[in-house]
Amino acid sequence: MQEVAILGVGQIPVREHWDLSLRQLAVDAGRAALADADVAKVDGIFVSNMTSGRLNKQRHLGAMVADYLGQRGVEAVKLEAACGSAGSAMRQGILAVASGEMEAVLVIGAEKLTDTGFTETTSALATAADADYEIIQGVTFVGLNALIMRRYMHEYGYQREDFAPFALNAHANGAKNPNAMFRDPISQKIYDNGRIVADPISLFDASPIGDGAAALLLVPASKAPNAVRVVGSAVSTDTLAIHDREDPLWLKAAELSAKQAYEQAGIGPEAIDIFELHDAFSIMAALSLESCGFAERGEGVKMGQRGDILANGRLPISTMGGLKGRGHPVGATGLYQLAEAVLQIRGDAGEAQIDGVNIAMTQNIGGSGATIATHILKRP
């Protein structure tokens, strides 16, 4: 297997894009990545998306994107793993290049969630969970995370307010990212007054949905000596439903995929400079920190309270807003995380730049933890 590098990145700002179709979003992001890499033709395209069949009445995105991107003829396919679609597509793109089968691969994540009403969109997103044993009980996706958060608070003795640093940090960083959906920092007071969506989760513990697309162009590292390296890549799975987990407060698939990625990179968690984690909900940020070895069990929240997660902290997270500040266009999210990590390593993150980022980790979660993709990127 040969080492893989990321030669180009492209992102569309996360917004309610009433003027852009799913097709346009995907194609624009793909073009931006091709231009950034200065590459015209690719050997393969992996598209990630969760809801297009239901919300946009369009499947077959691989061929559609290849067609409209001027890449007719190339192998192209869509991958789906709920909110973990993009990280999973990245993994497949890496395997294609690492194996030597393809030399230039585009990975494009695109999601269009705002053409449909709130009820239709949320029920499409709920298909990430177990339809027969979770969703039929009237639980929403927010509700599932609320169940985990309440149990976490009960076992480890936290209050709702203790989770505030995750939201405050994400919004402070999102304010510095032109591609973020929310550009205003929030205060502790605003967090405290957030409307309860599903007790104990308030508005600011949850990420906003939006339309978006992000793309990466992958090539063999030997062909691009100055490009950011992929030094770790792994995807793991866990039970589809939370209630089937041996420990509902532990992201087993995060632990497994992180462990594999650390081993491939030949490093441990202490070597990671920044961590773009999947903070779709504050509780998921805490669990991710614990399951990946950055905090002891039950101590993930304390990293927020101590300021470890801030831009100038020990382990900056959500450095360009995370899912809360940048927004969460579900099937594209994992590629936004990767694109942001690349910008941070290159020193191209603008106002959001963290000093001296050599090694960045990203983690993209599908459903409530059933699919988890972890990647580690390194300065060449």
């Binding site: 709130f118 009820t119 949320t122 029920s123 709920a126 027969d132 044993y133 979770e134 969703i135 039929i136 009980q137 009237g138 639980v139 929403t140 509700g143 599932l144 609320a146 169940l147 985990i148 309440r150 149990r151 009960h154 309860i196 969506v197 599903a198 007790d199 104990p200 989760i201 039970t239 439903a241 939370i242 209630h243 089937d244 041996e246 509902p248």
Partner: protein
Amino acid sequence: MEVSRHWRLQKQRYELVGETCDSCGVKLFPPRDVCLECEAPAQELYTFTGLGEVFSYTTIYDAPAGFEHNAPYQVALIKLEEGPIVTAQLTDMALDEAYIGMPVEMVTRKLRTDGEEGMIVYGYKFRPICFEPVVN
């Protein structure tokens, strides 16, 4: 709509029928034919007692389509006395009554309705275990 889909699950929805692992004895709900603990075949049917306790709970205000009729309502993780956890609604109680550790029992209730003349899906919910008052 989806009649056969819900018909197939009636033993689980109405009676909490799961399975027992032949080799380690672990009880499984929902049934999955393979043990979650030891991965041995687990196909012997087992009917759960329906007794358990609240492991966690939340209140749903923005109900999904088909569930608007009883919003707001509470959904919980229920730890059954045989071990497995199930996701289910709490019923027959006020919204501020639930607590972690609360003893509950399974009952059959209406889960979802598809419009005025649509199909109604019934299934398990859990209610507090009521102790009969002692009458002298």
